[in-house]
C-alpha cells in the first residue's frame, strides 16, 4: 500500500513509501526495500493539517516523520496504535490549572503575609546611616514632585525650631535622642498634608499650616510624624513595597491585565497595613502631647476639619484616613496637668507666616 511519505530525520529528502500496519508495528518500505519498523506502542501523532496523519516514534533521537496521506491507512493506524496521543489530555490541563493556582496562591500569600513580616524583621537590621542615604534619595523625589520650595522665613523658622525642640525632648527623652535625628521643614505646597521620610526628615505642607487654628493642632501632627520616624515606618513601607512589586511584577507582571489588578490590590493592602502604623503613630502622638500637658485631640479636630471641607480624594486611599475610631482614640488622651503653651502667640503667628516672609 502507498499513500505515505517518510522523512528519515537525517536528510530533508522526501521519500514515498509503502506502509504496512500490523497489530504490533508499523512497517515502512521504500520501493520494496525495508526501511524501518515502528512499534505501535511508541507511535505518536504530531500536528499536521487536515488530511494528513503525521507520526513520529517516541524516544527516537532524530526528527523522523511519517506522513500518512491515505485515508484507509489512517484508519488502520488509528485502530492498531492506541496510544497515538500519549496520556489523557484533559487530565493534563487540570494539572496545569491546579499547579498554577497553587503557585499563584503562594505568591499572593507571600505578598499578604510574608512580605510585611519580612519588612518588619528587616527594618531594625538596616543601619541608621543607610536609612538616611535612602531618605535623601526619597527626599529628591519628593522635591521633584512637590517643588523645591522649603520655607525658611526667619522668625517663623526660629519658632519652628523651638516647637520641634520641645516636641523632640518630650517624644524621645534621654535614651533614644542620639539614634534618631528629626529634621522638620515646611514645604510650600498647596496640599494639606505632612509626611515623614525614611531617615528622619519631616515635611509639613504649607496648606496644613494654613488650616491650623492653634499650635496644639500642628504639634499633634508633628508628634504623629515623629512617631512614624521613631517606628521607622517609612523604611518599612519602602522595603514592603519593594518586595511586593518585585514578586508581583516579576512573577505575575505579564498576566494580561493582571498588572493593574496587582497594583490596585497592593494599594488597598498598603493602606490597610499602614492603618496599623497610623494607629501606632497616633498613640505615640497622644503620649507625647500628654507628657507636654497639651491636648492630643486638637490634631484630630484639624484632620476632621480638613476632611469635612475638602475631601476630594476618597479617604479609603489617602495616606491619613480619618476614622471615627481614630478621632475617639486621640481624644482619650487628656493631660491631667495642664502644661504651658508650646509657642507664644507671637511665635505662632510667625510660624503661620513662615512661607510669606522670606
Amino acid at each position: 500500500m502507498t499513500g505515505a511519505v517518510f522523512y528519515d530525520g537525517a536528510s530533508a529528502r522526501r521519500r514515498s513509501v509503502a506502509v504496512r500496519v500490523t497489530s504490533s508495528s508499523v512497517d515502512i518500505e521504500e520501493a520494496g526495500t525495508w526501511i524501518a519498523s515502528w512499534p505501535c506502542g511508541r507511535v505518536r501523532r504530531r500536528d499536521a493539517p487536515e488530511g494528513i496523519l503525521r507520526l513520529m516514534l517516541d524516544g527516537e533521537p532524530t526528527l523522523a516523520r511519517l506522513d500518512i496521506l491515505d485515508p484507509g491507512l489512517q484508519t488502520a493506524i488509528r485502530t492498531q496504535c492506541r496510544e497515538l496521543d500519549g496520556r489523557n489530555v484533559g487530565e493534563r490541563t487540570t494539572r496545569i490549572v491546579l499547579w498554577s493556582m497553587a503557585a499563584a496562591l503562594s505568591v499572593v500569600l507571600c505578598v499578604i503575609y510574608l512580605v510585611p513580616v519580612a519588612a518588619t524583621r528587616l527594618t531594625p537590621l538596616v543601619p541608621l546611616s543607610w536609612e538616611q542615604h535612602l531618605g535623601r534619595a526619597v527626599d529628591n523625589q519628593v522635591k521633584l514632585l512637590a517643588g523645591d520650595k522649603v520655607c525658611a522665613g526667619l522668625p517663623g523658622a526660629i519658632a519652628l525650631a523651638t516647637l520641634s525642640d520641645r516636641l523632640r525632648r518630650a517624644a524621645m527623652p534621654a535614651a533614644g535622642t542620639s539614634d534618631t535625628v528629626v529634621d522638620i521643614q515646611v514645604l510650600d505646597a498647596a496640599v494639606p498634608n505632612a509626611i515623614a521620610l525614611p531617615g528622619g526628615r519631616i515635611y509639613l505642607f504649607r496648606a496644613l499650616l494654613d488650616r491650623a487654628e492653634s499650635v496644639d493642632e500642628i504639634a499633634g501632627v508633628l508628634a504623629h510624624e515623629m512617631g512614624h520616624v521613631r517606628h521607622r515606618d517609612g523604611l518599612r513601607k519602602l522595603i514592603q513595597a519593594g518586595g511586593t512589586s518585585y514578586l508581583a511584577g516579576l512573577l505575575l507582571g505579564d498576566v494580561t491585565g493582571g498588572g493593574a489588578l496587582v497594583l490596585a490590590s497592593r494599594m488597598l493592602l498598603d493602606s490597610a497595613h499602614s492603618r496599623d502604623a497610623e494607629t501606632a503613630a497616633d498613640a505615640f502622638a497622644g503620649q507625647t502631647m500628654t507628657s507636654l500637658g497639651r491636648p492630643a485631640g486638637a490634631m484630630a479636630q484639624l484632620l476632621a476639619r480638613i476632611e469635612r471641607n475638602e475631601s476630594k480624594i476618597p479617604a479609603f486611599l489617602s495616606t491619613h484616613p480619618v476614622t471615627e475610631q481614630r478621632l475617639k482614640a486621640l481624644e482619650q488622651f487628656v493631660p491631667t496637668v495642664q502644661g504651658a503653651p508650646l509657642l507664644t502667640d507671637e511665635e505662632w503667628r510667625a510660624l503661620k507666616e513662615v512661607c510669606k516672609t522670606s
Binding site: L134, A137, G242, V255, A315
Partner: protein, 408 residues
Amino acid sequence: MSATSVPATGPALSKSSPLYFSGQGGDFFRLLVNGSLLQIPTLGFYRFWLITKIRRHLWSSTQVAGEPFEYTGTAKELLLGFLIAIAILTPIYLAYAILAFALEEQHALASAPLVLIMYVLAHFGVYRARRYRATRTVFRGIRFWMKGRGWAYAARAILWDVATVLTLGLALPWASASLERYRMRHTYFGTIQGDFVGTGWVLFKRSWWTWALGLAGLVGGVAVMIRTAKSSPDTVNVMGGIVTLGVLLIIVGLAPAVMAIKTRWQLEGLRFGDVAVASNLSIGAFYGTFIKLILSSLGFLLAFGLVVSLGGGMFAGIFKRSLAQASVGGFNAYTVAGGVGIALAYLVLLLGLGVIQRYFMGRGLWERAVQSLWVSNLDALDAAAAAGEPVGATGEGLADALDFSVGI
C-alpha cells in the same frame, strides 16, 4: 503516490510552489478563548501553554507544496525558560535597585539611564527567543537552527535604534535590512545556510512616502498648534485635541500599508541556499484585517458595556454597600464581593480584547502573508542534512519577564 504534489505555476517563476494556509478560523478562535479563560484561574501562568498552542496551530497550518511545518516546542520549556530568566534577573534587579538609590541620592531622576540595562537585556532576549523558535521549527524531518550571539545582535540593534532616532526614522529601512541580514545569515535549515538579500534602499524606495506623510502630518500639526497659540490662545486646548486626533488618524491609517510593505520586502529577501521566496502581497492587503480588528473591538466593547451596566444595575445594592464599607475602611463580605466583581469584569475585558487582537493581528496577518508566497527551487532542499541542536527558552523567558514582545 503523493496526492499533494503541486504543478509548477506562477508566470515569472520557474519551478515555484505556492505556500498555503489551511488553518480553520473557528479552531483558532476556540483555542484562544479556552486558553484565555484558563488564564484567569491560573493568574496568567497558562500563557506558556496558550502561546505554544497558537504556534503549533499556525506552524502546522502553513504548508509549502503540501508539506506542513511543525512546531516542536513545549509549554514546559517556556515555563522553565521563564523561571531561569527570573533567577538571572533577581541579582540584576537587586543591584539595579541599590545603584538606583545611590544615584537618586545625588540627584532626582539620576537613575533614569539605568533603564538602558533592561533595554539591552531585552534585545538580547529577543534574539535568543528567535533562536529558540527556530530550533523548534521542523520541516521535512529537519530542524532549523541558529548561530550568532545575542550580545552582538543587541549591540547592533541598539546602534541602529540610536541612528533611527537621530534621523527621525529615516534610517529605519537600513536598520531593518542590517538586522534581518544578521538574523538570516545565522539561520540554517539543517546544513543549508540562510541569507537575506533585501536591501535598505529597496525598502526605502517602497516606503519613503509613508515616512514623508507621517512626518508632514506631525510637522503640520505642530505648526497649526503654534499658530493657534499665537492668534487665539483660548482655543488651544480644542485645537490640540483636533490636531492630535488628526495626527493619530494619519498614523493609524498608514500602519497597515507600512506593515504590508515591510512584510513583503522581508519575505521576498529570504533565501536558503538556492531556495528563493517571492511574494505578491499588495500594499492594501492588511487593511481588511485592520478594519475587522477595529470593528470587532468596538463591538466587543459595546457588548461588554451593555452587560456591565445591566449587571451593575442588578447588583447595585451590593456595590453601594461595598463602597460605603470601603470608604470607612471596613473589610467584609460586601467589599470582597465588590472587589472580586470588578476584578473579574476587568479581566474579561482585557482577555476579550486580547483574543480579538491575537485573532486578527496574529492569525489574520499571518494568513495573508502566507497566502502571498511562492517558493522556487524547492528541490534544492533535498541536499539538506540534519544539523544543529535545540536550545533552551531562557531568552524567551527573559523577554517575557521584561515585558518585551517577541511576537508569535
